[in-house]
């Protein structure tokens, strides 16, 4: 079985979400063995479960303690908090209407009250940038939730029960990995005429689940072999109890890490698809749409491109940094 020892490396295979998740996957693979080893046979506490003195710390409480001291985590968490707040209540910092435009002012630069200037249709770039947050955050969060749930349930069950379904699922993920994501998006979304966010989210879940499922599968297989799982089985615990009480808490860390990093890449993917003209469609207010529209005027009015692009990049950066910090905290190897 020459390829057997290299299964972990192969987990980074994938023409996936621009590689971001691929790498996260490979890093999480090393993590999963560590994390299950570190949390040992102990029942993991919640993030706040630091436990009384004398009682050993769980992986989660250790990670939480590390995170609170990590400036990268604090900064990215604050940025994300801010993004969530303005995507829920954009009118807090932008009083205008993103769809109210004045063609006479098209492409004009910064003015008092309109710090980012106007876009090609004479809409206020500042207002549109603020309102675009909601779309990006919604797509990112919902796509990640969908992928994480779908992927970890399928991958986890396959890893736990093994057998035929496991083989079928593994081959199925191979197939999905062989299809470049942007290409799949172009083909599938080019027929969609709906201008809601749902087709885009649906597409991301459809092509994103194999990534998480592979991580979850590996993670569950590692956790399954631990002594405490054997012990619980010997005591007559049912499969559902084993899965929910013993395996899931010890196998979920790599999934969380990969999902957090993936969230940033989904936001970026939405913008890329919108740039190619198949993602979201106006009148939805989205950074991707605005950047795509602005790219035609880039020589005369680069401000139209720079503001939404800057917002997009900072949002993705915040999520990737958060994922990075969480991974560092959960990976005892680096301690």
């Amino acid at each position: 079985m020459p390829e057997q020892p290299f299964e972990p490396e192969r987990a980074i295979a994938g023409t996936g979400m621009g590689g971001a998740m691929d790498l996260a996957a490979s890093e999480a693979e090393t993590l999963e063995q560590q994390s299950s080893a570190a949390s040992g046979g102990r029942a993991p506490g919640g993030p706040e479960g630091t436990g009384p003195s004398g009682k050993p710390h769980s992986l989660w409480s250790d990670a939480w303690r590390d995170l609170r001291r990590n400036p990268v985590f604090i900064i990215s968490a604050l940025v994300i908090l801010f993004l969530v707040v303005i995507s829920l209540w954009p009118s807090l910092i932008a009083s205008g209407n993103p769809l109210k435009c004045d063609l006479a002012k098209a492409q004009e630069g910064s003015q008092p009250g309109h710090p980012f200037g106007y876009d090609g249709q004479g809409c206020d770039v500042y207002t549109r940038t603020v309102y675009g947050t909601r779309t990006s955050v919604t797509v990112g969060v919902l796509a990640t939730l969908g992928v994480a749930i779908f992927g970890s349930v399928l991958g986890g069950l396959a890893g736990f029960f093994g057998g035929v379904w496991d083989s079928i699922l593994s081959r199925l993920t191979d197939i999905f990995f062989a299809i470049p994501v942007v290409l799949g998006g172009l083909v599938l979304l080019s027929v969609v005429t709906s201008n809601t966010v749902w087709p885009v989210i649906g597409f991301m879940v459809l092509l994103g689940w194999p990534q998480i499922s592979r991580i979850a599968r590996g993670s569950v297989i590692t956790a399954k072999q631990n002594d405490y799982v054997q012990a619980a089985r010997a005591l007559g615990a049912s499969n559902s109890r084993l899965l929910l009480r013993h395996i899931t808490p010890n196998a979920v860390a790599p999934v969380i890490v990969v999902a957090t990093i993936a969230l940033g890449t989904y936001i970026s993917l939405e913008a890329t698809l919108s740039y190619l003209g198949v993602g979201l469609k106006p009148p939805t207010v989205s950074w991707g749409i605005d950047i795509s529209a602005a790219s035609q005027y880039i020589r005369n009015a680069p401000h139209m491109l720079l503001w939404p692009a800057g917002a997009l990049a900072s949002t993705v950066l915040a999520f990737i940094m958060l994922g990075d910090a969480v991974r560092d905290a959960l990976d005892p190897k680096l301690r």
């Binding site: 083909v187 692009a309 993705v316």
Partner: protein, 307 residues
């Protein structure tokens, strides 16, 4: 070795069939291919029916798939609705994209691995932190934004390069587009090399090599780097397929007439033959690159043997 390769080739078959079938189904969902033939107008029903018969589109999908695959294995990728052979389109498009991918991979290998070794050895120092932060920034900015900005700055403002690439697409014209295409992967290669180097630095064989009194550069290059490259090689190998498929965005920005351009045109014009043909080849490239990577492991790490 031979038996291993044969087994891997056999394992590829279901993946190849699955991936091509998936894309075949997706393209079929894409809409009526005949509609693209009559231009902007609605097709006359009689003409549409005749065209469908002519192209075999009235048959069930699985039958179309079998016919198509049968043709592919005799080297016939069909004819685009413009009348051009798909293989003809490929012969002009693939060399361009391959050149672009080569430029991108050279950037990944040279810059990515160098930065990775540098930061891995200086872990925790200012240069490490700076490079790590830079890689995060590069990962966060979507490729199309990087591309548009570089095009604006280097092509329009400073006039260092031509903003769009000529149809010949020589290597020198593809340097900046290649860098754009490579940017995100380059950041990953850096981070991956860094992690790997930092991990292996404390290993026994490195200590032995140092104790033997080998010069520092020899320890780093022959012992440390070689053993740290396996995850990096895996990443780059699987990235080849992603780069060729992901070139859609880069090729669109710099107006490069490669695979991405043809695919984009094919999808926009609902030219199913072009799309399926190109994707089939891309899937093959991806699978073969993966196989080559696995074989390369044995070269990097002599402990790995393929029976």
């Amino acid at each position: 070795m031979g038996r291993y390769v044969i087994r891997r080739l056999l394992q590829m078959i279901p993946v190849f069939i699955g991936a091509t079938l998936l894309i075949f189904l997706m393209v079929n969902v894409m809409g009526d291919p005949i509609a693209g033939l009559c231009g902007e107008r609605q097709c006359d029903p009689a003409t549409a029916a005749q065209l469908k018969r002519e192209f075999g589109l009235d048959k069930p999908v699985w039958q179309q798939y079998l016919t198509y695959m049968g043709n592919v294995f005799t080297g016939d990728f069909g004819t685009a609705f413009t009348g051009q052979k798909v293989t003809e389109l490929m012969s002009t498009a693939f060399p361009v994209t391959i050149r672009l991918t080569v430029v991108a991979i050279v950037f990944e290998v040279v810059i990515g691995i160098t930065l990775g070794v540098l930061t891995g050895l200086k872990r925790g120092r200012p240069i490490d932190t700076t490079v790590l932060l830079l890689t995060l920034v590069v990962i966060s900015v979507p490729t199309f934004v990087t591309g548009l900005l570089l095009q604006l700055l280097l092509g329009v403002e400073w006039g260092w390069i031509k903003p769009s690439v000529s149809p010949e697409a020589t290597f020198s014209e593809l340097i900046v587009p290649g860098l754009v295409l490579a940017s995100v992967s380059l950041a990953y290669v850096t981070r991956l090399t860094r992690t790997s180097i930092a991990e292996n630095r404390r290993s026994d064989y490195v200590r032995t090599a140092v104790a033997k009194g080998l010069p520092r550069h020899r320890v780093i290059i022959r012992h440390l780097l070689r053993n740290s490259l396996i995850p990096v090689v895996t990443f780059i190998g699987t990235d080849i397929g992603a780069l060729m498929g992901g070139a859609i965005v880069t090729e669109r920005i710099f107006n490069i007439h490669g695979v991405g351009y043809q695919l984009y045109q094919g999808i926009v014009r609902q030219n199913t033959q072009t799309v399926v043909g190109f994707v089939t080849v891309l899937v093959l490239v991806f699978l073969i690159a993966n196989l080559l990577v696995d074989l390369l492991y044995a070269v990097l790490d002599p402990r790995i043997r393929y029976a």
